[in-house]
Every structure is written in structure tokens, then in C-alpha cells.
């Protein structure tokens, strides 16, 4: 049987291994069109959210079916983040919208805010700490 000191030492070692290296898994659901690519952008500031500073990371995956899409962002420092997702169905590199500015292609934001306008950074932000984290984003 391990004595308490062994347990404590083991715990300390375990903590020592978990600094600045969390993995964020983004699960994208409610995809309705198997077309184009899903562009996923991870930002860590309001400026980056508004396109005025660099994003932390970005990924693009082909949308081959309407099944949920899962992707990961490893080695993240603890902090405040936001994720934006856009499905470029027709491959023109942008989120198409209609004449009134309402998006015609699928999109989503972390926290899935219930606003009928572009949500702001505060409405989409979440915390990454030392542990791995999974979030779900629904495509609208």
C-alpha cells in the first residue's frame, strides 16, 4: 500500500507535468450541408476577434458529411479564448450573406450566443485553465 507521502509526491509530480499545455477540443454540430470547408479560428483577445490582431490558431477541414466535426487545438496557455466557425459552402473564401446582411452560409461561435447579430468577444469567450477542455459549437 502506498503511504501518504508517496501519494503526495506523485501528485506533486503530476501537477508539475500540467503547465501551459491544455488541449481544446472543438465539437461542431448541427451541420446541415455537406459542402465546402469549415474554417475554425481560435482567438485570445477582443482585437483578434475583430480581425485587428493575429489569431492564436486556425484550422480548415473539408465538410464531407453532416456528421459532427471534431478538431483540437493543443498546447494552449491558460487564458481567455473565443472560437468562431464559418462554413464556406461555395469555396469563395467568405461568409456569404443576403442583401440584408443575414448570413446565408453556416456559422457558429463559442458559447452559442442567442443574439441575432454578430456576437461580441465577451459573449463568446471562455476560460482555458490547466486541464483539457471540450466545447460544442452549433452551426446556425
Amino acid at each position: 500500500m502506498r503511504n501518504i507521502y508517496t501519494l503526495f509526491a506523485a501528485a506533486t509530480l503530476a501537477f508539475a507535468g500540467v503547465t501551459n499545455a491544455a488541449t481544446l477540443t472543438v465539437n461542431i454540430t448541427q451541420v446541415t450541408k455537406a459542402a465546402g470547408k469549415m474554417a475554425v479560428k481560435l482567438v485570445s483577445s477582443s482585437a483578434a476577434y475583430d480581425g485587428e490582431a493575429e489569431a492564436t490558431a486556425a484550422q480548415m477541414v473539408d465538410v464531407k458529411s453532416v456528421e459532427p466535426i471534431s478538431l483540437s487545438f493543443p498546447d494552449l496557455k491558460p487564458g481567455t479564448y473565443s472560437v468562431m466557425v464559418m462554413q464556406d459552402e461555395n469555396g469563395n473564401g467568405q461568409l456569404d450573406s443576403n442583401i440584408l446582411g443575414i448570413p446565408k452560409e453556416g456559422y457558429g461561435f463559442s458559447n452559442n450566443p442567442r443574439v441575432m447579430r454578430r456576437p461580441n468577444f465577451d459573449e463568446t469567450k471562455f476560460e482555458v485553465k490547466d486541464a483539457d477542455l471540450a466545447i460544442t459549437i452549433e452551426i446556425l
Partner: protein, 513 residues
């Protein structure tokens, strides 16, 4: 083991007694935790929409008129022959399509606002065999989604939906429930804040959303297009402070689209047109909060007043704006150009706070009276040439609605409406006509036990008729009635009654055979 040993040590001491008392408090806390994580308890308050459903079900047992706000079981009602009274003119052949809210209940919950019900298209076919009726729900994306889960999931016009899903735009909340359009050989269910839905004229099955042009997908398309004499239509879509104008030709092809930026937003249900102008009146009902249903997010900003937007049909790009007193209209009777350049129109007008945003809401909720019956009146609105402000003239006729449009873009010699000065249900049970001075001409009233719905102007065999539906609130039955428009005082010349009630509806359109 530790706790048992500790208790043994404490024995019957005071400390021991207090230690025994602790578990009871912990039990109460545990019970609260159970409740918090969803374990039912009889003392939990049910959600307001479930309370609404219970109240409606209880009231409906003893108040047959509430059948006018009951849900039809999807997918709709099958073909039924109506029982004929009187004689339907042989020249009158065709189908009255009528739209309106037909489903208010899902799971244990009920909507609280009349405008929320999912669109149910009804078709009354008049032919040599008599009158037959059937109905079918509009299979909007909202209806399809909520049918799969049997839960209200999407934001509604008047009811706050708990845990509503995020939506990308108003079209996701489209109920397709307001009116009907026939153009270019096709038939569409109309809403107002999103797309028209094409339906099959015979089966009433939903085909698809109508995309007039690629960049118009999902854009607002109102329930009240205005016909030109050449068979083309104007229509409008309002979104925030953007006004989108459509001109569609009689073959159903899009001719013109114009986007107008308004000085401020507001609310508008329909619009009107004179020979030369399109006219829009926006009520100062605008978004003041982001929580709740569409109408709950809105508040009256009376200090701003309503405003008019006037567009020259020959050049839609140059809007003229005029200020106006605060209020709103659902429907217009007519609009015309006067020789000196004055633009005039007539409407059924509501002052702010007159029940405009939630007609019959309390009946939907199972209450059996209305705290605030609708208080609308016939008005004439006049905008002289070059004036910055329009003027409202009350015509001294109250409690009238659903003006029957008989003349396109001209001042109608007579004006025809549904109305009733007082009605125990706060409804309309009469049809009346007024002369050019707004004085009564002809009139017929079905009495307290009836609700007369929208009547439409129909010409057949060289004669002028009013055709529409009627609800027997005492027997819970729905029927179709026909009047000679120029002899309203004679009463209905023909009737056709179903053996059941259908939900009260909004608007329709007659398609001649």
C-alpha cells in the same frame, strides 16, 4: 466508520445532540440539490407555458369559443364537404386559400400569443359539387425541427421560449402563418419577417422557400403584397432600419429590387400604394432589449412618433420621409393621389397601447375575457406635397378592421370593412359599408355568437361579392359565407358549414378556377 466512532464518543452530550441535528439540515439541503438537478418535487413551480396549457385545457371545456384558438393535429385536416345553406352562384368557381396560426401546443407547453402558432393553410373549394375544405401545415424549417422533437425550440413572435436555440436570422423562426399569394401560376404561404414558402395548390404540401434572387435568400417578404392593374405585385421586407422593395411581374419573375436605408427602424405589417407612389408607415415600435420573444424585445418609443416613407414608383431610389403621430395600422383600405400633389390613404388605426401587439393573446392563454379589447378606428392620413409632416383625420368609425380592398390605387367610392361596436368577445361579427363621407350604407351583423373573419372582394359573373369565413363561437363550428357586396343588409346569400371548428385565421386570397 469515522462518523460512527465519533458519535459513540460523544454519546448523549449536548454536542452529540447538535451533531445529530446536523444531518436533518443536510437532508433539506440535499433535497434542494435534488430539485436543482431536476429531480421532480411536488412543490416545484411548473414552467409558465405548461401553466398556460393547463389553463387553456380547463377553460376550453366550458367555453366553446376557445375552439378558435385550439391546435389542429398535424399534418392537417382531410377533405370534408361543407353543409350548404342558400345558393352559391354558379359563376363563382375557385378556391379560397386562408392562412393563420394552427398549432399552439407542443409537449406540455402552449404558446401565449396569437401570432406564434405555426401556419395552417386552409383551402375552401367552390365548384359544381358544392364546397369542400381541407388544410395542411406549412412545413417550415421551424415546424420540421419542432415536429421531430415535439418541443418548442425556436424563438417566437410573442412567447418567450425557455432555452430557445440560437438562430442565424428571422427566417429560422418563420411560421409561414400570415397570408397567401398567387402569382405566376404558383401559390405561396406568406409570413412577414422571412421567406415566402411555395405550396402545392392541390395538396397544400410545402414545396420550398422561395428565393427570388440569390442575394434575397431568407430576406423578409411581407404578407401584404400590393397588386398593380397589370397583375404584377409590389412587396416589402423590413429588417432593422432597412426597407427592401420587390416588384414581381404577373409571371412571377422578379423585375426590380431596391434597398432603402431608413433614418430609424420601427414596425410595419403592410403598406399601400396610390397610382404613382408606394407608401409605408412605420410605428415607433422598436427593439429595446435583447431578451424574450420578438414582440417582447420591442417597446413603444412614442416620443419619436411614427414616420412615413414615400417612394415614387418611377424612381424607387429617392425616398421621401415625413413625420407622423405615434400609432400603427395593420391594414389599409385605399390610397390615392390628389390633383394638388397630396397623397392620402385610409387605414384602420391603433393608438399606442391599444392592444396592437397582442390581439386575443388572453384567449390563447385560456382566459375567457380580454382586459384590453382592441381599440382601432378608421382614419384618413394626408400628406400634402412638400410637407414634412402627415396629418391624421379620424373618421368617427370605431372597431373596424379588415378593410376590403375593392379599388386599386384609387379612392374607393365606398369603403367596406368588418366591424361591430361592441361584442362580448371583443371580436368582429358584422360587415358594413360606408359612403365617401364615412357614413353607413349597408350593414349586417351575425350577433354575439359569431366571429366574422376577413372577407375578400371577389368578382364573378359580373357581380361583386364579399367572400370569407365565419366562426360560430357558441357551437364551435367554422363556415364560409358569401355576400352581395352592394346589398350587405340582405345578409349572406350563401353559407357552407363544416362539422368542426377550425382555428381563427389571418388572411387569404381567392384563386378563381
Amino acid at each position: 466508520m469515522l462518523r460512527r466512532n465519533l458519535l459513540k464518543l460523544l454519546g448523549n452530550s449536548a454536542a452529540g445532540a447538535s451533531l445529530c441535528a446536523v444531518p436533518i439540515t443536510l437532508l433539506a439541503k440535499a433535497r434542494a440539490l435534488d430539485q436543482a438537478i431536476g429531480i421532480p418535487a411536488t412543490d416545484l413551480v411548473t414552467d409558465p407555458l405548461t401553466e398556460t396549457a393547463k389553463r387553456f385545457a380547463a377553460s376550453r371545456k366550458t367555453h366553446p369559443f376557445l375552439a378558435g384558438f385550439e391546435s389542429v393535429t398535424p399534418p392537417g385536416t382531410g377533405k370534408a364537404s361543407a353543409n350548404i345553406v342558400g345558393r352559391w352562384p354558379s359563376a363563382l368557381r375557385g378556391t379560397l386559400f386562408r392562412n393563420g396560426p394552427g398549432l399552439f401546443d407542443r409537449g406540455t407547453q402552449r404558446y401565449q400569443h396569437w401570432f406564434d402558432g405555426d401556419g395552417l393553410m386552409q383551402a375552401w373549394t367552390i365548384d359544381a359539387g358544392g364546397v369542400t375544405h381541407h388544410s395542411r401545415f406549412i412545413n417550415t424549417s421551424k415546424f420540421a425541427r419542432e415536429s421531430r422533437s415535439n418541443k418548442f425550440e425556436i424563438m417566437a413572435a410573442g412567447t418567450t421560449i425557455p432555452n430557445a436555440r440560437a438562430i442565424s436570422g428571422p427566417d429560422d423562426a418563420n411560421t409561414g402563418n400570415i397570408s397567401v399569394l398567387h402569382i405566376g401560376g404558383k401559390t405561396y404561404a406568406l409570413w412577414e419577417a422571412g421567406s415566402a414558402y411555395e405550396i402545392d395548390r392541390d395538396t397544400l404540401e410545402t414545396l420550398d422557400t422561395k428565393i427570388w434572387r440569390d442575394d434575397l435568400a431568407g430576406a423578409a417578404f411581407s404578407a401584404h403584397p400590393v397588386y398593380e392593374p397589370d397583375g404584377s405585385i409590389w412587396n416589402v421586407g423590413l429588417f432593422d432600419s432597412k426597407l427592401l422593395i420587390y416588384h414581381v411581374d404577373k409571371l412571377g419573375a422578379l423585375k426590380t429590387v431596391q434597398l432603402i436605408n431608413l433614418p430609424r427602424g420601427g414596425y410595419m405589417h403592410s403598406f399601400t400604394a396610390s397610382e404613382s407612389k408606394l407608401v409605408f408607415v412605420l410605428a415607433p415600435l422598436m427593439r429595446v432589449r435583447e431578451a424574450g420573444s420578438f414582440f417582447e424585445q420591442m417597446g413603444w418609443k412614442n416620443e419619436l412618433g411614427s414616420f412615413m416613407v414615400v417612394l415614387d414608383k418611377a424612381d424607387l431610389s429617392k425616398p421621401r420621409f415625413a413625420e407622423f403621430e405615434s400609432g400603427a395600422a395593420y391594414h389599409y383600405a385605399d390610397a390615392w393621389d390628389e390633383a394638388d400633389g397630396t397623397l392620402a390613404l385610409r387605414a384602420c388605426w391603433y393608438g399606442p397601447g391599444s392592444g396592437f401587439v397582442s390581439p386575443f393573446g388572453q384567449y390563447v392563454q385560456g382566459y375567457t375575457h380580454l382586459d384590453t379589447p382592441l381599440a382601432q378606428e378608421l382614419v384618413e392620413i394626408r400628406l400634402p406635397a412638400n410637407a414634412k409632416r402627415a396629418v391624421l383625420q379620424r373618421q368617427g368609425v370605431a372597431k373596424v378592421e379588415f378593410p376590403i380592398q375593392t379599388n386599386l390605387m384609387q379612392r374607393s367610392a365606398n369603403i367596406y370593412l368588418q366591424g361591430r361596436a361592441t361584442h362580448p368577445l371583443g371580436a368582429l361579427s358584422g360587415i358594413l359599408s360606408l359612403n365617401k363621407s364615412a357614413k353607413p350604407l349597408g350593414h349586417f351583423d351575425f350577433g354575439n355568437d359569431f366571429v366574422l373573419e376577413e372577407q375578400l372582394y371577389v368578382r364573378a359573373g359580373g357581380k361583386r361579392y364579399a367572400l370569407g369565413t365565419i366562426f360560430n363561437a357558441k357551437k364551435a363550428r367554422t363556415g364560409l359565407v358569401l355576400f352581395n357586396l352592394d346589398r350587405l343588409g340582405d345578409g349572406p346569400i350563401a353559407q357552407a358549414w363544416l362539422d368542426r371548428a377550425m382555428p381563427l385565421g389571418f388572411h387569404g386570397s381567392f384563386l378563381p378556377a
